[in-house]
């Protein structure tokens, strides 16, 4: 594997630790789940519809920042042929164990999502669920996603909403007021965190268009009435998430 950027190395350290503390066990629960669900409020795909109309049977899928690989597993069970890419060996190790336990095998590749060692136009769907979508620089990983997709292929990614970032200070959870400036927003380093990337709506649209994507949907995820604040990801409360979007799913189609 090519040498990592300082940001990717820092994020790998964070996710090695997080995997030991949380995602190793959480991945086990997610793999056991039949239904596809999205984000910290676990909203079922049948309600969100981020993948609606996308043929998964036989589709070549690449997951950028797959972590413990549960999204790829969900898609594999629906007939897709996923490849999971992640920069953190510890998470891929958990993914491999879970593959064995579930008898579900697909390639897992240790690589930076900004430089994937796979040929152009090899995939029908690029998916990223809190993977490259927040941990890689969009000005690097979006062109990479465009390169990897075949014409007509889809890009689906889940990230934090702009508004929750604007309301986030060094202390969790998010406040009910704007504290970060939007203009120029891009790279964020939180205390005890890694390096995250968050850009505004206008910047996402311009970037996607620049790389040949047509924006198909933006699903802004609302915490349901009975949601509770997430056990591990405490950056936002359920009360906040009922009034304002903490997370959003973008969907785009490569022309």
């Amino acid at each position: 594997m090519a040498e990592l950027s300082p940001e990717a190395a820092r994020n790998r350290d964070l996710w090695t630790q997080t995997n030991a503390e949380y995602t190793h066990e959480q991945g086990r629960r997610a793999w056991a789940q039949e239904e596809i669900s999205w984000g910290i409020w676990s909203l079922p795909e049948r309600e969100v519809g981020a993948l609606a109309g996308i043929e998964l049977e036989g589709a070549d899928v690449i997951e950028l920042g797959c972590g413990t690989g549960y999204v790829s597993a969900w898609l594999a069970r629906r007939g897709a042929r996923p490849v999971g890419v992640d920069v953190t060996p510890a998470q891929l190790e958990t993914a491999r164990q879970l593959q064995l336990e579930h008898g579900l095998d697909f390639p897992l590749l240790e690589a930076d999502a900004q430089a994937v060692p796979l040929p152009d136009a090899s995939f029908d769907l690029v998916v990223s669920e809190y993977g490259a979508s927040i941990w890689c620089d969009p000005y690097h990983w979006i062109p990479e996603a465009a390169r990897l997709l075949r014409p007509g292929g889809r890009l689906v990614f889940l990230c934090n909403s702009t508004l929750v970032i604007l309301c986030s200070d060094d202390e969790e959870p998010a406040l009910e007021r704007l504290v970060q400036t939007q203009f120029g927003m891009h790279r964020f380093e939180w205390p005890q965190g890694g390096v995250e990337y968050h850009i505004s709506h206008g910047s996402w649209i311009a970037l996607l268009r620049e790389h040949g994507f047509e924006v198909e949907a933006l699903h802004e995820l609302q915490a349901p009435a009975d949601a509770t604040t997430h056990e591990h990801y405490g950056y936002v409360t359920a009360d906040w998430g009922r009034r304002w979007p903490a997370e959003e799913l973008w969907r785009a189609r490569k022309r």
Binding site: L178, G202, I205, A206, A217
Partner: protein, 253 residues
């Protein structure tokens, strides 16, 4: 005209009542046209429209038609639409003074009495896309555009809506209202304004056969002046977008 919606009627009354006062306060500031929004950022800087010569253009909520006159001068064939007869009186007067003429239409942008596929460009600067229901105007825009034609308009932003302090008529940093369900605001002064969440705008465009081309989050220059907003709002808008420009294109098929 039949079938005017309740909010269109209220906004007609509001703009008829406020027309002269509005003109007095803002007309000189926006007289040149070809500049967007409450800080009048020149089109030459934002380059939203490009070359308009030869285009059939509909302006939705033209007021005194400053934009339409400027588009005419740039070689376009404008039609100015407004829901207020009093605003259109100012447009007629200004056209006479300038010695120019183009159609001025008294109608709601929610129900435009013009044929399908009549325009290459539908535009609006804080006009009907703020004061009419987007669930009605966006499909109208799509209907009125020719395949391959485009629409562009300024309006407020969801952030400006959720931080709006009506008591002070200013934007602060506190989130005062909910984002989910954002749609309609009945202003204390009698107008009815509309705004949608980002995802809801995109859903509506796609459903109407419009491709999302751009979303310009407007940032005024330092010390920007306006007859519409205070210096406090200008300072706010240096940090967060207080106005935005959507640009969408009618799909060719």
């Amino acid at each position: 005209m039949s079938g005017l919606s309740d909010h269109a009627r209220r906004n007609r009354e509001f703009w008829d009542r406020r027309s002269d006062e509005y003109h007095e306060r803002n007309a000189a500031f926006i007289a040149g046209g070809m500049a967007w929004g409450v800080w009048q950022i020149p089109e030459a800087e934002l380059n939203v429209l490009g070359d308009v010569s030869g285009l059939d253009v509909l302006e939705l909520g033209c007021g005194a038609a400053e934009w339409s006159r400027a588009l005419l001068a740039a070689g376009a064939r404008p039609v100015g639409l407004d829901n207020s007869a009093k605003r259109l009186e100012w447009a007629r007067r200004a056209n006479e003074e300038a010695g120019v003429g183009f159609p001025l239409l008294h109608a709601s942008a929610e129900d435009v009495p013009l044929a399908d596929g009549s325009f290459d460009l539908v535009m609006c600067d804080w006009g009907a896309m703020t004061f009419a229901d987007p669930y009605l105007t966006v499909p109208e825009v799509a209907r009125l555009l020719r395949p391959g034609g485009f629409a562009a308009w300024t309006g407020g932003t969801p952030w400006a809506w959720v931080t709006y302090d009506e008591g002070r008529d200013a934007h602060g940093t506190e989130l005062l209202s909910d984002y989910f369900g954002l749609h309609r605001w009945d202003d204390a002064e009698g107008s009815v304004d509309f705004m949608l969440p980002y995802g809801e705008w995109i859903r509506l465009f796609r459903r109407s056969g419009l491709a999302v081309e751009d979303l310009i989050e407007v940032r005024p220059p330092e010390g920007a002046r306006s007859t519409y907003r205070t210096a406090e709002d200008a300072a706010w808008a240096r940090r967060w977008p207080l106005e935005q420009i959507w640009k969408v294109r009618k799909e060719a098929r």
